[in-house]
Symmetry: C2
Subunit: 264 residues, 2 copies
C-alpha cells in the first residue's frame, strides 16, 4: 500500500508521499513514490504514484525515456499541465495494453493511479488526479487536495483544517499529521517520507525534505499531536447523564424479533 | 454502508451503531443495526450487524424464531457467550446455504458480519467479531474494541485513547467522536444512532439512548471536537524551516528517471 496527498493552495503546492510497498506482510520494501520533472524557471511537474509498483514504475520509465524526444509525450515539451496529465494518462494506457491481460490471467487487477501537480510558466499552479483508465479530474476552487492509496485514516484532519488561503508551511504540517494518523493505523504505509513544496510562480521545486525517523520536527509533531488529542478528549464532558438513562422499552427497534426478545 | 463499534472494558460494554443502509446513493434508508436478546438479570446479548441487509435481517429473524425453542440454537438457552457466538455463526452459514449461490449468479458477494457482546450470569462480559463465513474471534485483554462496516475514519481516535480501565461514559464519548469522524467522511453512514451500555454483572441493558440530530450532547461533542482540533492544529508549530530548505539535488530518489529529469 501507500499514502500520498497533494494540496493546491493560493500560495502554491504541497506534496507528501510515504515510501512503503508490500506484496504481503512478509515482503516489504522501500520505494519512493515522488518523481519530479523539472526545467527550473520554466516548469515543474511532480508525480505521486500509488498502486501496482510494476505498472507505475513502467509508466514513469516510459515518461523519462521520452524526455529527450520531440514528441507530445515529452513532459518537458507539453504546452500546459492539462496536456501533461493527458500524456501521463496515455502512458498508463500503454502499460494497460501491454500488461493488463497478463495480469488478469494471474487474477491481478490493473491498479495504478497518479497525482500530478505543478506549474508551467504562463499558467497558474494546477493539480490532477489520474486514474488507472488514464482519465483524470482536475482540482477546482472547491478542491484543496487529492489523496491516493490508503486515504481514509488521514482524511478527517485534512477536511477539518485545509482552506485555499492557508500558508504552505501550515499545509505541510496538516499533511504530516494526516500521514502520522495513516502510519499509525496501516502497517503498509511507512517512513521515509518525501515532502515537496512548490511556491506559486517559481516554476521549480522550492523545497524538498526527506523525512525519516530521525527528523526532529516530525517526531515532535507526532508526539505533541497525540498528547493534544488526548488532552482535548479528556476536557470534553463525559455523557454521565447516559449512565442514569434507563433502557427505553421497545425503542431498540429493528428487526421486530427484538421486541420479542426483550419481552422474554 | 454502516458503522458499528463495540468496546469491552473492565466496567462493562459500550455499543454504538448508525442506522443508514444504501443500495446506491439514490436508495438510502434507515434500519437499526442493534438487536438485543435479553433475559434481565440472567443474560444480555447485543448484536450489531453490517453488510448485506437481507442476509443480516434473515439471520436475526431465524435467531428470533428460535427463542421459544428448546434447541441449542436458542440464544436464551446458550450456556455461555462462546456458544452464543457459535449459534450466530451457524445461522449465518444457514443463510449462506440458502442465498450465496443465488447472490453469486447476480454478481453479489455474500457479505455480512456481526459484533456480539454481552454477559451471561456466571461469566465475565465478553465480546466477539463474527465473520461472513460464520467463524469468529474473541476480544482478549489486549483488545478493547471491534469495529464493523466503515471502520477506518473513526479508528485513529479509538486507538489513541481507549484502555480497559476507562469509565463507560468516557468510552461512550470516544465511540461518539469516532462516529462523528465517520459520518463526516462517508455519506453512507448516518443518524440516528443506537448507543447501548451494559454495566458489568448487571446482565441486562443498563442504558440505551436513541441519538438523532436533536440530541444536545452529541451536537455539542461534534462542534466542540471540531473546534478543539482546529485549535490544537494552530498551536502546533509550522515547519517554517522547511521554507528555507533548498531542494537537495539527487535526493528525490526513485525511479532512476528522476535524476535525469532534474538534470535537464
Amino acid at each position: 500500500m501507500t499514502y500520498c496527498v497533494a494540496m493546491l493552495l493560493d500560495a502554491g503546492l504541497v506534496f507528501l508521499s510515504d515510501s512503503r510497498t508490500n506484496a504481503g506482510v512478509d515482503q516489504i520494501n522501500t520505494f519512493r513514490k515522488t518523481t519530479v520533472f523539472e526545467r527550473a524557471g520554466d516548469r515543474v511537474i511532480v508525480l505521486l504514484s500509488a498502486g501496482n509498483l510494476a505498472i507505475t514504475q513502467g509508466a514513469l520509465n516510459l515518461l523519462a525515456e521520452r524526455m529527450s524526444s520531440q514528441s507530445d509525450a515529452n513532459l518537458l515539451n507539453c504546452p500546459n499541465l492539462f496536456e501533461a496529465a493527458r500524456c501521463v494518462g496515455s502512458t498508463l494506457r500503454e502499460m494497460h495494453l501491454r500488461d493488463a491481460e497478463a495480469l488478469r490471467q494471474q487474477g491481478i487487477e490493473f491498479n495504478a493511479s497518479f497525482i500530478l501537480g505543478g506549474q508551467i510558466k504562463g499558467e497558474a499552479p494546477r493539480l490532477f488526479h489520474i486514474y488507472a483508465a488514464g482519465n483524470f479530474v482536475e482540482a477546482t476552487p472547491d478542491t484543496t487536495y487529492f489523496q491516493i492509496g490508503e486515504s481514509k485514516y488521514g482524511k478527517p484532519i485534512i477536511d477539518r483544517v485545509t482552506r485555499r488561503s492557508m500558508p504552505l508551511s501550515e499545509a505541510a504540517k496538516c499533511a504530516l499529521i494526516s500521514m502520522d494518523s495513516t502510519i499509525r493505523s496501516n502497517l503498509s504505509v511507512g517512513l521515509p517520507l518525501d515532502l515537496v513544496i512548490v511556491r506559486r510562480d517559481e516554476c521549480r521545486i522550492s523545497s524538498h525534505v526527506d523525512i525519516d525517523s530521525t527528523n526532529e520536527y516530525f517526531q515532535r509533531i507526532r508526539e505533541r499531536w497525540g498528547e493534544a488529542l488526548r488532552e482535548i478528549f479528556s476536557e470534553l464532558p463525559n455523557p454521565d447523564w447516559l449512565m442514569s438513562t434507563p433502557p427505553e422499552a421497545g425503542k431498540l427497534a429493528s428487526p421486530p424479533s427484538r421486541l420479542q426478545s426483550r419481552a422474554k
